[in-house]
């Protein structure tokens, strides 16, 4: 192991200041909690001379409920997402995902923006954000744009942001009160574990009929994915175990996992089937209780 390379750390107070630093300083990179970035710097996977610490910028922190929309500041701690009343009530699938991340120490440091920008295929918040149809608010000194969170992920540990861009917030439409959701994660132990596979689903019902379904699987392809072909199989149906099984099988065909020290591709494939089925069953059972 090599010692951590030296770098300068800057503490801007505003987003504009941060953006200026990002575009002007040599080899600049944002740092939030640093829980992903510091190991990457140490292992020389990422190089940076100037780290722009965005974790103290007030505009980037906090969870707000707007008109039919929930906004999470990019530098909001995972712990704050996990403990948020708004998230717990409106998007429990994200609350469950957040509480599955690392350990209390990691959740106290790590941020939701970092989890997404780090672009790990196994990022635990990603499947939940994907089924919530979340989008990312990205700005640079030249302007701003909004892209689906899914599109922030470009490949393993590669995001689609330009070096001078900053993720400002993550927003998603407030789910209907009748939506039901589920998050499941499989790892090599119970706590402090990187997912072998993680899955989120969101179901909407019109009476007994499933009128919308969203399924997302992580750690089973080069980025977290939505599996539309499986979702379609649930639309406008009265759900049965057979239909759920059929959709889950569809997911198993759609994923494209790799072999690594954490699991074989085959195990990941089989487990995406199991976890999708479990998520769908759980969400459906919650819905049946509401009906």
């Amino acid at each position: 192991m090599k010692p951590l390379p030296s770098f300068l750390i800057h503490r801007p107070r505003t987003v504009n200041e941060a953006l200026k630093m990002l575009s002007e300083l040599e080899k600049a990179k944002p740092i939030a909690g640093g829980t992903d970035l510091l190991p990457l710097l140490r292992d020389r996977v990422v190089e940076a001379k100037n780290l722009i610490d965005i974790s103290l910028i007030p505009e980037l922190r906090g969870i707000k409920e707007g008109r039919n929309e929930i906004r999470i500041g990019a530098a909001t701690k995972i712990k704050d997402v996990e403990k948020s009343r708004i998230i717990f009530e409106k998007a429990p699938v994200l609350c469950d995902a957040a509480s599955s991340i690392g350990s209390p120490q990691i959740r106290n440091l790590g941020t939701i923006g970092g989890n997404i920008c780090n672009a790990s295929p196994a990022a635990d918040s990603a499947p939940s954000l994907l089924v919530l149809d979340a989008y990312a608010e990205v700005v640079s000194s030249k302007g701003s744009r909004e892209i689906p969170v899914k599109e922030v992920f470009k490949g393993p540990k590669r995001n689609s942001l330009r070096p001078d861009e900053l993720l400002i917030s993550i927003k998603f439409p407030e789910p209907f009160d009748t939506s039901t959701m589920s998050f499941q994660k499989l790892g090599r132990r119970r706590g402090y574990t990187i997912a072998q596979v993680n899955v989120a689903v969101l179901l909407e019902f019109d009476g007994p009929v499933c009128c919308d379904a969203k399924i997302s699987v992580g750690a089973a392809a080069s980025t977290p994915i939505r599996i539309y072909e499986a979702e379609e199989r649930l639309w406008n149906k009265r759900l049965t175990e057979e239909i759920i099984e059929d959709a889950s099988t569809q997911c198993m065909r759609a994923v494209d996992p790799i072999d690594d020290v954490r699991a074989s591709a085959e195990y990941r494939r089989e487990m995406s089937h199991v976890l999708v089925r479990r998520c769908l069953m759980e969400a459906w059972n919650k819905a049946r209780r509401l009906m």
Binding site: R188, R189, R190, G191, T193, R262, Y267
Partner: protein
């Protein structure tokens, strides 16, 4: 000396003051508050940094080590290679096969070649990269079978078998003839990494031109002194070793203490400046000793009554690049091959084989963990074949007073395994248990038994020493070479002293082991720290007590046998108001010229051993343990959850039940790791997962409910209060209990560990096809 009785008579107490009680450790608060000092805490900022240049090849001849460029890097002070070593370039433990720095050949990826001394981490690390090593690659042996092939290239002179062992007891052919059922299986166990929180560390300070002091992590300060002196070519008295509080050891620091301290000391002495050597995590995981991998071919036979008749066991131990502790490890496996059962006929053959991989070394359970996983799996299989309950079958064969071990050692007392087994069966409601299924989850119950000879094997003499001083203010200074590694043995010694001299525990200050002032207690390994070290402590305390009683009686004007020592005071038992404090008593001892200090010494009873048959008295005493585990297996994912463990141990005498519970709880977790998840992944001899991130050990959330440990107390008559060691025996029965429970739940039996979710999932799928 039969301590158990003597102490009771002598102390004349209906109930002990502190022995046997749960007491808060005197070192706990500082550790919890982060105030306790560990080796790295002693290193001043700016101290010279030492790093090791390591081989990138598994097996090769060294043509050249070129460090010219490295010396040009600013901050680099010196590069040390084999030719700079003033003493002997040899650090092998059992065999002289391990150069301290290699100059002729490398034996595994990670073999040390040179030391870099630099003013800081950055230049040191740059220098390590700048050193060019030219090799002539040799074919490498990455499995024992490859190393044993007839055309294998020898990794060390003398071939690839480092050592062999054997036991011949009774007549095995006859035993199998008398058997009506037979089971033969092959088991394999993997490496396990210790993953202690504190990596290896040493800080060496040269004094003048011919002395050095080293503060470091270790388990055996006097072994460290011997090895450091040897490498420096110095006498023992020129080297002073201090063991700092050590953040976990589990055996590996017994192997690594000498290495890390010698690395720091050599650099400090050659450069003439203090030197710090602290291992990185990946270095510790990838290149330092692990639990030895092993393979067991195991054949057992029993008759129709359920009596074990014969075992035939072939042990192939993988040493890795160096023999290190393998002769002792292998011997222990050979001696304990049957498990804690009586078997009249046994043929056991072991060999330890070199390969070009990271080498094995000491680890809690020392061979017995793997061996008894195999033995206990055999017991379950035999029971199944005979169609009797696994516990009933074990009870028919269990070791009892009057029976002999595999080595034909007669057990004449302190054999509590039957009680352990009966009581865990009762506590877990074993006989009423029905394996159940709910959705995709199935549950099952399994049992494991274990025994572990305490301290060193065979005829090796075993002893321990310590010193105790009564200070003028009535407090005591206690010195022992037994190390504090988190386990608390020295606190156990202090409790023994406290009981005997009647001082409150916080009157007794335990000094850090320091070879310049501490008596040699021999190593803190083999679960001997409390049993051997604590008995020496009792000896010292009894001697000092005599002097204290003599003076106290005169001061109190009563008979010696009327004096009670308690709570830091001496008083007349019949008239407690007639009393003096220990400070008054101490002053008087000093004033009268009666020694206020004592030296404690204890030697184990002599043992004998016949290397030809492997028979004899191999261990002075055994600790026994039994556990029942309940697991839940998710048939869809293959995940195993250990729901509950019911542990029992025959500890001789619990000096502190709380510390024993601590040992058991840690052992449950470490046992779960070995059974279910720990998995060192190597490719071409390179460790692929050298960090906590991917070398998975159990987290707090993986720790099951642990029933209140059942402590059976069958005192050992030659140790203080009858105590036996507990650190290692605690883990051995956990692994087979879990493996047997998985079988009970799923019908699937694993001969290879770890049983990861993925492997279990594959097995479930195969069993359905």
């Amino acid at each position: 000396m039969e301590y158990a009785n003597i102490l009771q008579d002598l102390l004349k107490r209906d109930e002990y003051l502190i022995v046997g009680k749960k007491v808060a450790r005197t070192d706990a608060l500082d550790k919890v508050l982060g105030r306790a000092l560990f080796t790295a805490d002693y290193v001043p900022k700016g101290t010279m940094v030492v790093k090791v240049v390591r081989s990138l090849q598994p097996h090769a001849l060294i043509r050249k080590i070129d460090y010219k460029e490295a010396l040009k890097i600013p901050g680099v002070i010196r590069v040390i290679t084999a030719s700079d070593i003033p003493g002997e370039n040899q650090i092998g433990y059992a065999l002289p096969d391990q150069p301290f720095l290699n100059d002729a050949k490398v034996h595994y990826v990670g073999d040390p070649l040179a030391l870099v001394c630099a003013s800081d981490e950055y230049s040191a690390s740059e220098a390590v990269d700048a050193i060019k090593v030219e090799y002539n690659a040799l074919p490498s042996h990455l499995t024992v079978d490859s190393a044993l092939a007839s055309d294998a290239i020898p990794i060390h002179d003398g071939g690839n078998i480092a050592v062999k062992t054997r036991i011949r007891k009774g007549d095995v052919a006859k035993g199998f003839k008398e058997s009506t059922v037979e089971v033969e299986e092959t088991y394999e166990t993997p490496y396990q990494e210790h993953m202690y929180l504190e990596t290896e560390a040493a800080y060496a300070i040269p004094e003048g031109s011919d002395k050095v002091t080293v503060i470091g992590t270790m388990q055996s300060p006097f072994l460290v002194r011997e090895k450091v002196a040897k490498i420096l070519g110095w006498s023992l008295s020129q080297v002073r070793i201090i063991q700092a509080l050590t953040g976990g050891a589990f055996g590996k620091k017994d192997d690594m203490g000498p290495l890390v301290c010698a690395e720091a000391a050599l650099a400090a002495v050659l450069v003439g400046k203090p030197a710090a050597r602290i291992y990185d995590r990946d270095e510790s995981v990838a290149y330092t000793p692990k639990r030895f991998p092993a393979r067991f071919r195991y054949r057992s036979g029993a008759d129709s009554e359920g009596k074990l008749k014969a075992i035939e066991v072939e042990i192939t131990l993988e040493c890795g690049a160096y023999a290190n502790r393998s002769p002792f490890w292998l011997w222990r496996q050979t001696a304990h091959a049957a498990g804690p059962y009586y078997v009249p006929n046994a043929a056991i053959d072991g060999k330890a084989v070199y390969t070009n991989k990271v080498y094995g070394g000491s680890f809690r359970g020392f061979g017995d963990l793997a061996m008894q996983f195999a033995a206990e799996s055999q017991m379950d299989r035999l029971a199944e074949k005979i169609n009797i309950d696994p516990i009933e079958f074990r009870l028919k064969n269990i070791l009892k007073t009057g029976l002999t071990t595999t080595c034909d050692q007669l057990l004449d007392h302190s054999v509590g395994i039957e009680e352990c087994l009966r009581r865990v069966a009762e506590a877990s409601n074993w006989s009423k248990y029905v394996p159940c299924k709910e959705g995709s989850r199935v549950r099952g119950l399994g049992v494991g038994c274990a025994y572990h000879g305490i301290s060193t094997s065979r005829g090796t003499p075993d002893w321990s020493a310590c010193s105790l001083i009564l200070n003028q203010d009535g407090t005591f200074t206690y010195r022992t070479g037994i190390c504090e590694l988190g386990q608390g043995s020295p606190i156990g010694h202090a409790k023994i002293v406290s009981e005997i001299v009647g001082a409150p525990l916080d009157f007794i200050h335990v000094e850090l082991p320091d070879t310049s002032s501490t008596p040699d207690a021999k190593p803190t390994h083999g679960s001997r720290g409390l049993m051997l070290g604590g008995t020496a402590a009792a000896d010292a305390a009894l001697k000092l007590r005599d002097n204290m009683l003599k003076v106290a009686a005169e001061m109190l004007e009563c008979r010696e046998d009327e004096v009670e020592l308690k709570g830091g005071e001496a008083f007349e038992r019949g008239t407690p108001s007639n009393k003096i404090s220990f400070s008054e008593l101490a002053e008087e001892l000093y004033a009268r010229g009666i020694s206020p200090a004592s030296y404690g010494f204890y030697a184990s009873p002599k043992r004998y051993f016949d290397p030809e048959t492997g028979l004899g008295v191999n261990y002075s005493v055994y600790t026994f343990a039994a556990s029942v585990a309940e697991v839940e297996v998710d048939l869809e994912t293959g995940e195993t959850t250990v729901l509950k463990v019911w542990p029992a141990m025959d500890v001789g005498k619990a000096i502190d039940p709380l510390m024993i519970e601590g040992q058991i709880e840690g052992a449950v977790s470490q046992g779960i790791g070995f059974a279910l998840m720990e998995n060192l992944i190597l490719e071409d001899g390179v460790v692929l997962n050298p960090f906590f991130k991917d070398y998975i050990i159990p987290s707090a959330l993986d720790t099951p409910e642990i029933a209140k440990p059942i402590l059976v107390e069958k005192p050992y008559k030659h140790s203080a209060f009858g105590a036996k060691g507990v650190g290692e025996p605690a883990i051995i029965s956990i692994v087979p209990a879990i493996v047997n429970a998985i079988h009970n739940a799923t019908g699937i039996r694993f001969n290879t560990l770890p049983i990861t979710a993925e492997r279990l999932y594959d097995a479930i799928r195969r069993s359905r096809q």
